[in-house]
Amino acid sequence: MNYHSPASFAEASALAANATGITRFLAGGTDVLVQLRSELVTPETLIDIKKIDGVSDITQNADGSWTLGVAATGAEMSEHPTLGRDWPGVVEAMDLIGSTQIQGRATLTGNLCNGSPAADSVPAMVAAGVTVTVTGPGGDREVAVEDIPTGPGKTSLTKGELISAVHIPARGDNAGDAYLRFIPRTEMDIAVVGAGVSLRLDGDTVTEARVSLGAVAPTVLLVEDCAEAIIGSTLDDTALEALAAAASAACKPIDDKRGTIAFRTEVAGVLAKRAAKIAYARAKGEDL
């Protein structure tokens, strides 16, 4: 295995573009090192992007939107004084991943590029409308988070491409987000089901909503039917039941060691409801 620590994304991209064999980028390493240790994936080229300037920065832009460096850790996100006020769901989703120790290393970008349908931060990012900058041999492009994973362990990034920045939209007024996941223990598990909700209110009425589900399909789902179930409502019981039904209907899960089809389908609806209630309360300023 060859280890590189380039000083720029262009250099990182060029290294990857010219590499032969398996190539991996190293940010927090909490997935790459597990795969390396278990000999699931032994890259021939490992490109550590943490020596690139600014990769750990968390910046709020003039328009209220946020730009996160690709090596900003979960701990740095949680400790940021204002990011969590704008996007508590995104920050909490990241914070749910692994232990305190994992939080010291793990990143949004790594969680996204690992390609797991059960990645906790991804449904929250999808609900929040997060985009990423992809740097490649041909330059930069902006891509919605939901368009990065293409299947378990697979992404739409092509040879020589890597994510170079994460963009979270401006939160704006009367809005809130939330992410919940189901795990059998209280910590240290992979999500059996995850649900992210971001919404905006006009008075008591939901005017905008994005609802996403994790671990119930080969990729994280952005479920339009769930959004439609609550847009125009005051998140009353009828709307919540419709939301749960739409969430369960959208599931295309598998039976595996972590859960069953029936369980995931049922609990997706439960979590969508619970997350929507939290997001709604936050939008009303009740949980800040």
Binding site: M188, G259, A262, F263, V267
Partner: protein
């Protein structure tokens, strides 16, 4: 320590001093299995079968052998049944050898087939990829009921012993039946009979330290082995047999041990390291990965059980019957007999019958796990008792008290109990504030009793006094939970010198006589008894020296508060001689003073506990939280109460894991799917409440200070107590472990 921590009859026993190895363990300097290295050391790695059941057609090691970093490669051909030293192994030694390195067939996913020693750990792992193994994949079976079915693949013909009735599948290798009375007549007397079936999955001891060792063996048959083990004499004996060398030529040193719970009572990698060392003529270190630990060490057995119990309206049990089928991997050894014998042991029964099966399947060879076999049986039996109480409207503690075994009861498994403490634990449960505390909506309470035999075992202890009046104690039972502190307390009690003046060492196999493994809750009992007797042996000599100095007969001197004193006014009027005063002159008064003890203590004293658990179930997701937990157990006499509490709490925590989330998950391909801690879900700190403990002390007549072992009984009641709590919270009887959220949610749905 406060004076009220002390018991009136004892000066040191019952206090709570700091453990002697504490400093080493909080500074990182304690040496565990993997913390060893030696000049010239090589690193070993083991190639393992990816198949659950396969014939090994051919192993080509030539490419690995040719690699510059590789110094030795071994296969089964390098062990004792295939080499000239000492051909032919039988019985359990053969089973262990077959498990350590496969011969004709790989019997489970993870079964070792070859090993290499190379100049670095990475080089060794890389070299495994150069070994080519040709397999012929065979049909496999991993489920206990399927392994007994007529069409099940046969793991090994002829593995069954004499106990198995004719007509059983060859995978059934041992059969146990016991009991007394007439169960059919008993069931006929009952007002309510409940018959139900239960299942538990295999779990792993889950010690945080993977197996690790360093072996050094020469062609002269002399060797050294360092390993993390619960018993280095069994490692010595087994490795010597497997390598074809003489037992005494192999010196084994036990490292500090990072948890065992029964799983480190046998060998896995140790004979491999020695075989590699013999070939390379250099020390070889092997450290297992976590995945190897799960795939290829000894988890507990899985179980399938049928229970039938009859009860009168007043709570009297009229008859009880249990059939227990245990799967223990590809070798004989599943504790179906233990499960059967323990299942009804807490109760005074007129009519009882129990049957146990030991069944082989394509899984790793099971090893002991804390009261091996008992927790599963208790889960099934105590669940049925709880259901009987619910249906008859009876209090579960009252019913257990009504039927509780006591001194003189003929046990379900045969013998008559001496003084036992079950009733006292139940009375303590009934009086405990936990038992009467109100429950919130969604919560349920469960209780259960549990039993374990406890064990004595072969034991040697040697104690030597130093000139300055301090003492060193050599024991042979690895310290798995603070036992050096307990030994020092017991020696201090006899010698009458301060705890701090005694150093307890876990001796290697070359410096002490044979010791059985640290298992069976035997250490504080048996090594403790041996320490007390070794100390008394030294005291006899101290008294004799004092007597000689005073010119009076030895039997006219007694030992009191650390001093030799005349035994009475008639013996003469002499000033007491403290221990240090006698030892200061021992060189000139007859030489060194030591005490020793070697025997197999037989009076371990059975042990009982009662647990109270509150659980809360989320009806929408099936997720369970344990909100309150109380352990009540008879310790006989708690030598170091804090470490007794620790055993109770640890047993409860492991039981919570077993009950709720831990399980071996095999795919249709027979491969283990959850061989890392991410998916083998042991409880984490945020999963658990504080665990309350009550130490009941009903002295064991078989120990000088009344000690009963406490290590194992604590894991017997939790599965049932938690299942009862969850079932009462959810309103539906849970009959299969683990009670994972998908299972609970499905049960809730089925229940409407």
């Amino acid at each position: 320590m406060a004076l009220d921590d002390r018991k009136s009859d004892f000066t040191f026993v019952g206090t709570r001093p700091n453990r002697p190895d504490g400093l080493d363990k909080v500074t990182g300097r304690a040496k565990f299995g993997a913390d060893i290295s030696a000049p010239g050391m090589l690193h070993g790695a083991i190639l393992r079968s990816p198949h659950a059941h396969a014939r090994i057609v051919k192993i080509d090691t030539s490419k690995a052998e040719a690699h510059k970093d590789v110094k030795a490669v071994v296969t089964r051909a390098d062990f004792s049944d295939k080499v000239e030293f000492k051909p032919g192994l039988s019985g359990e030694f053969w089973n262990v050898l077959e498990n350590v390195m496969a011969s004709d067939k790989a019997l489970y996913d993870g079964h070792a087939v070859a090993a290499v020693a190379a100049t670095s750990a990475l080089a060794a792992r890389d070299a495994l990829k150069l070994i080519e193994v040709e397999y012929e994949v065979l049909p496999h079976v991993t489920d206990v009921d399927k392994a007994m079915a007529p069409d099940a693949p046969i793991i090994r013909e002829g593995a069954a012993d004499y106990s198995v009735p004719e007509g059983m599948h060859p995978n059934v290798v041992r059969y146990h039946e016991s009991g007394h009375g007439d169960v059919d007549a008993g069931f006929a007397e009952a007002d309510l009979v409940i018959e139900d079936s239960f299942a538990t999955e295999a779990t792993h001891q889950g010690y945080i330290e993977p197996h690790a060792c360093m072996g050094s063996l020469g062609s002269d048959g002399k060797g050294e082995l360092w390993c993390t083990t619960q018993g280095h004499w069994i490692a010595q004996k087994t490795c010597a047999a497997l390598l074809g060398i003489e037992t005494s030529q192999l010196r084994v040193t036990a490292s500090e041990i990072g948890g065992g719970f029964g799983g480190k009572t046998t060998v896995f990698i140790e004979p491999v390291a020695l075989a590699l060392s013999r070939k390379a003529n250099r020390p070889v270190k092997i450290v297992m990965s976590r995945s190897e630990v799960f795939r290829a060490t000894g988890p507990t057995a899985s179980a399938s059980m049928d229970i039938k119990i009859g009860m009168k309206k007043d709570g009297t049990i009229t008859a009880a019957q249990g059939i227990f089928r245990l799967q223990g991997g590809a070798f004989p050894g599943a504790p179906g007999d233990m499960t059967a014998m323990c299942a009804f042991a807490p109760y005074n029964l007129t009519n009882v019958r129990q049957v146990g099966y030991d069944v082989m399947s394509n899984r790793p060879k099971q090893a002991a796990y804390r009261a091996p076999g008992a927790p599963m049986g208790a889960f099934a039996v105590e669940s049925v008792l709880d259901e009987l109480c619910n249906q008859l409207g009876l209090d579960p503690v009252d019913v257990r008290l009504k039927n509780a075994a006591h001194e003189g009861t003929k046990a379900s498994y045969g013998p008559t109990y001496e003084r036992i403490g079950l009733v006292e634990t139940l009375e303590a449960a009934k009086a405990h504030p936990h038992y009467s505390a109100p429950l919130k909506p969604g919560q349920g309470r469960g209780i259960s009793c549990g039993f374990w035999f406890n064990h004595g075992g072969e034991t040697s202890v040697s104690l030597a006094l130093s000139e300055d009046g301090s003492a060193q104690v050599m024991v042979g039972t690895p310290d798995i939970g603070g036992s050096r502190a307990s030994m020092a307390l017991m020696a201090a009690e006899v010698l009458g010198i301060p705890y701090e003046n005694i150093r307890v060492t876990v001796a290697d196999t070359a410096t002490l006589g044979y010791n059985d493994v640290s298992h069976g809750s035997r250490v504080t009992y048996a090594s403790g008894l041996a320490t007390i007797k070794a100390a008394r042996h030294a005291v006899e000599q101290l008294c004799a020296r004092a007597a000689a100095s005073w010119g009076i007969p030895a039997d006219a001197v007694k030992w009191e508060n650390g001093c030799a004193v005349p035994s009475g006014p008639n013996a003469g009027d002499f000033d007491p001689r403290p221990l240090a005063d006698i030892t200061a002159h021992m060189g000139a008064t007859g030489g060194p003073i030591s005490g020793h003890f070697e025997a197999t203590p037989e009076g371990a004293g059975v042990s009982f506990g009662t647990h109270i658990v509150d659980a809360e179930v989320d009806p929408e997701t099936g997720k369970t939280s344990i909100t309150r937990y109380t352990v009540i157990q008879d310790a006989g006499k708690a030598i170091h109460p804090t470490y007794v509490e620790g055993q109770y709490q640890g047993g409860a925590a492991q039981g919570i894991g077993w009950a709720l989330n831990e399980e071996y998950i095999y795919g249709d391909d027979g491969r283990l799917q959850n061989s890392i801690f991410l998916d083998y879900r042991i409880p984490v700190a945020s999963d658990l409440p504080m665990i309350d403990t009550v130490i009941v002390e009903v002295p064991n007549p078989g120990h000088p200070f009344g000690v009963r072992g406490v290590g194992e009984t604590g894991i017997v009641p939790p599965l049932a107590a938690i299942a009862n709590a969850v079932s009462n919270a959810a309103g539906v009887r849970m009959k299969q472990l683990p009670m994972s959220p998908p299972r609970i949610l499905a049960a809730l749905k089925d229940n409407g």
